[in-house]
Amino acid sequence: MGDVVRASGLVKAYGVGAARRRVLDGASLEVGAGELVAVVGPSGSGKSTLLHVMAGLDRLDAGTIEVAGAPVHRLGERALTRLRRDEIGLVFQAFHLVPELTGAENVVLPARANGGGAAAAARARELIEHLGLAEAAGRRPAELSGGEQQRLAIARALVNEPALVLADEPTGNLDDEAGAGVLALLRSVATGGRAVVLVTHDARAGAVADRTLRLMEGQLRSEPPA
């Protein structure tokens, strides 16, 4: 199994002068296809920043990242957009579904950027069926539960068949039952052959993850298996 993510010596700092703080300070990480890695740590430790630099949403101060063989740290905006479109799926804590669109329309949206027409719609339908979201697909986000919304958001992240799924606190806005369902779903996504990086406070994440890393003082350290 080849590495989908290869990150080394990541440095990212915020603030200026005396207030300047390195939230990533030499962190390194490899994630293989079919692997689910959970990144835990206290609030403000830089977990979301780690995801953002991996997705090319934020720029590194130093270090290198490769995603699916592409050097994220060197790519321009256009190439990064293409990389996110083709190789990366993002899942957010607040779901971020477009409120005017139905569940199905939200799922297929990234495929539109990929030039997907009927094939994308078919793939979205397939995903919706597979994830048991047929009922939610015809409704708007405001009419859905948090769990349904997050599962639709995961379906959206998968519609372009990315190599890497990055999930930022996906259970943060969910109750226990819904959270457990989302974690199980991410596990199955990884089992399906994709690399999954999960940033979370959720203690149950360790149970579904292949590895758990703790982000402390800007560095990633392995946690003992749960």
Partner: protein, 756 residues
């Protein structure tokens, strides 16, 4: 109040970009208002201002046989109520040359007696009666010849120096007027040639309301003066109205529409600002701010932005429109309003500040009246309606998504559509007016004329002309200008054809019937309104040799001569003015080539003239009007752009997270551009439909009615105007979308994701 102002200042400083955007919109509306005021106030008050400053006489009497000043003075002294008098000798068709320009249409005005001039010197000084070689020239001549004070002007063989430039508002300016007037003192001439004669008397009355009595008396005592003609101050106004009255009325009507559109846009903009701050209002209410405090704060904040922006915008509008409006006034021999415009501008700025303050305060008052928790949860000033999701399909892509995002805020979309629609309607109106100007200039059919050519001179050629291929009909046409015998200051134009005049001129009949006998007249609605004529009334016209009376049997929607026209049959006209000779009106067949007919008639020795429109006399005048319309159209386009950008900016601001998520999930610049284009189209397409509908069914008929209740004016938009506006609006929409895409692309994606 001070606390509210301090808070308002702090909030404005915290959001400089948004404040600048709001200020830009207010400035754009201010520019519209300023331009509209500069044009309409200038034109509406121009004549009175110039007449007052020039001390225009109440009556100007002209006669053909020049007499001695003493002779004329004896006649004048016999008149009642005369406050002052001045005499001139007027010599026409004088050759003028200077600064490498020349004309044979000079009018030499020798100032023989009297201190009051009837013109005002706008540069340099007046002529001195003691010094020779001095001349004051009219402004139109100075502009055309490029002459200034100190330059040389040759009057025939006489070399003079220009000592002053004057405006004489008793006629329009050269070259709109046929003659270019120059004024010289009589003193130096009299030293060489003896006493100067007089053929023009200017009279000022103690009581101008006694004008009719004076004129009646003047006719009684004017023996020895041939071909006596009077021009009154009211008559001058009517003459100027004939030159520009229709256009002035249209521009004034446009100014009203523009001001209404500006007010609507300001109200929309201010309301949108409050909409954005609903959560803040909720927090303020939760912290104990009273409803009145919240409202006052928003009103003050709106006023703080509006005052400088409105001031700058109004100033910009005045500057932009001032040039063309000044040219227009100069063409009409009128003076720009100068400081007299300031109260109007101050009122406009105050009104704009009040509109913005009020439009900010009202939604804030409404919002602050709702429970704080409800406001803090966000939402609209008006509750959003639940809509059913569309079935099937997957949303139609980013373009459709953009349209749906814009449509999700119905109130705002409606306001944007309303502001854009109003602007579209105004632009269509201006373009239609420009087309109308062209048609008035070129298309005789617009005036009800069915003949295309006229031939002056020998009536014996009539049968020859009738035999020319392409000629459908030839008829004698008499035209003469007189004054109403009951109101001597009111000009009347009589058009006479033997038999049925509708073969050659057929203005739409509003009421009554066509002329069937020599004692009958059809009058234009303009004349009917001016003289209070109705069916059955008597029209008495004073002509050179006497009076001609007719019974009004029909009222026409005639546009020619501002509707101050009457169609009659020749016998009574010829009896009252025996010297009158007709021209031949030539109507062509529908398939005739006018150029070929003109060539054949010329070969016959009867060179024809083409029948023109209402304002054929001066293309430059129409060009000046077109400039005014272009400036106003440009300002309106800026308003369109602002309304679009503001609508899109609000959508982008509210959907910052959505845009960030779309970018995070792989949407590139093209997809985001498509999103904003969809949002722009959601406003542009309905705005275009609304604008067209408002123009066709509301503005055009209303303006036509305002401008010329006496005529049918085709101000409807044609295919060209609609295409230009549609393409222009599409370009503005694309421009606004591109700008918003650029702005959105500059923002880091994570900034939008953190918004939640």
């Amino acid at each position: 109040m001070r606390r509210a102002a301090a808070l308002a200042f702090a909030r404005l400083r915290a959001r400089p970009a948004r404040t600048a955007l709001a200020a830009l919109g207010i400035a754009a509306a201010g520019a519209m208002a300023g331009a509209a005021l500069a044009v309409s106030v200038g034109l509406a008050t121009g004549f009175d201002r110039a007449a007052d400053r020039a001390d225009l006489p109440d009556v100007i009497a002209r006669f053909d046989n020049a007499r001695t000043p003493a002779f004329v003075d004896r006649r004048v002294r016999a008149l009642p109520d005369i406050a002052a008098r001045s005499f001139r000798f007027e010599l026409n068709n004088v050759h003028l040359s200077g600064n490498e320009h020349r004309t044979g249409q000079g009018s030499l005005e020798v100032l023989v007696a009297g201190k009051r001039r009837g013109y005002t010197v706008v540069a340099g000084r007046d002529v001195s009666n003691r010094r020779g070689g001095e001349v004051v020239i009219e402004r139109g001549l100075a502009d055309q010849f490029g002459l200034g004070v100190g330059d040389k002007l040759h009057i025939g063989q006489l070399t003079t120096h220009v000592v002053g430039i004057a405006v004489g508002p008793d006629n329009v300016a050269f070259p709109l007027a046929r003659a270019a007037r120059v004024y010289i003192p009589s003193g130096p001439l009299e030293q060489r040639f003896g006493a100067a004669p007089v053929n023009v008397a200017e009279l000022w009355l103690h009581d101008p309301s006694k004008l009719d009595e004076v004129l009646t008396q003047a006719r009684a005592v004017a023996y020895g003066l041939h071909d006596l003609r009077f021009i009154t101050r009211g008559g001058v106004r009517a003459t100027l109205d004939q030159a520009a009255g229709l256009i002035v009325a249209l521009l004034s009507a446009f100014a009203l529409v523009t001001l209404a559109a500006a007010a609507l846009m300001l109200a929309t903009s201010a309301s949108a600002e409050v909409q954005r701050r609903l959560r803040t209002i909720g927090v303020q209410r939760a912290l104990g701010f009273s409803r009145a405090q919240v409202t006052l704060q928003h009103a003050v904040e709106g006023a703080l932005v509006a005052a400088p922006a409105a001031l700058a915008g109004v100033a910009l509008g005045v500057l932009a429109a001032g040039g063309p409006a000044g040219d227009l006034l100069a063409t009409l021999n009128e003076l720009p309003p100068g400081p007299a415009l300031l109260p109007w501008l101050a009122a406009a700025v105050a009104a704009m500040v009040a509109v913005v303050g009020g439009a900010s305060a009202w939604p804030a008052w409404r919002a602050a009246g709702r429970p704080a928790t409800e406001i803090m949860r966000g939402g609209d000033l008006a509750r959003a309606r639940r809509t059913r999701p569309r079935r099937g399909g997957a949303g139609g892509g980013y373009f459709a998504l953009g349209a749906r995002l814009a449509g999700a805020r119905r109130g705002r979309l409606l306001a944007t559509v309303a502001a854009l629609g109003a602007a579209v309607a105004v632009v269509l109106l201006m373009l239609s007016l420009a087309t109308l100007l062209d048609r008035l200039k070129q298309d005789p059919a617009l005036l009800g004329r069915r003949y295309q050519l006229t031939v002056a001179g020998d009536l014996a050629t009539r049968d020859l002309i009738a035999g020319v291929p392409g000629v459908a009909a030839v008829g004698e046409r008499y035209q003469v200008d007189g004054v109403d015998a009951f109101a001597l200051g009111s000009p009347v134009r009589l058009i006479a054809y033997p038999g049925d005049h509708t073969r050659f001129e057929s203005p739409p009949l509003a009421r009554g019937r066509r002329v069937a006998a020599s004692n009958e007249a059809e009058v234009g609605q303009g004349l009917a309104q001016a003289l209070g004529l109705d069916l059955g009334a008597t029209l008495a016209v004073e002509l050179q040799g006497g009076e001609a009376r007719f019974r009004v049997v029909g009222i026409d929607r005639a546009l020619d001569n501002e509707g101050r026209i009457a169609y009659v049959q020749p016998p009574r006209v010829v009896r009252a003015d025996p010297a009158l000779t007709p021209a031949l009106a030539v109507r062509l067949t529908t398939d005739a080539d006018p150029n070929k007919v003109v060539a054949r008639l010329t070969a016959l020795g009867a060179p024809p003239q083409r029948a023109g429109g209402a304002t054929t006399s001066n293309a430059a005048f129409l060009g000046v009007l077109a400039d005014v319309l272009r400036v106003l159209a440009g300002l309106t386009a800026v308003v369109c752009l602002y309304a679009l950008v503001q609508g899109l900016a609000l959508t982008a601001r509210e959907r910052r997270t959505t845009v960030a998520v779309l970018r995070a999930t792989g949407a590139g610049r093209r997809e985001i551009a498509s999103l904003f284009a969809g949002a722009a189209v959601a406003a542009v397409v309905p705005a275009l439909l609304v604008g067209v509908a408002v123009h066709q069914w509301v503005l055009a008929p209303a303006v036509a009615d305002l401008a010329a209740g006496y005529a049918d004016l085709p101000i409807g938009a044609g295919a060209l105007e609609l295409t230009v506006v549609a393409l222009g609006l599409a370009a503005l929409g694309l421009g606004a979308a591109a700008w918003m895409t650029r702005r959105a692309g500059r923002e880091p994606v994570v900034a939008g994701l953190r918004e939640e």
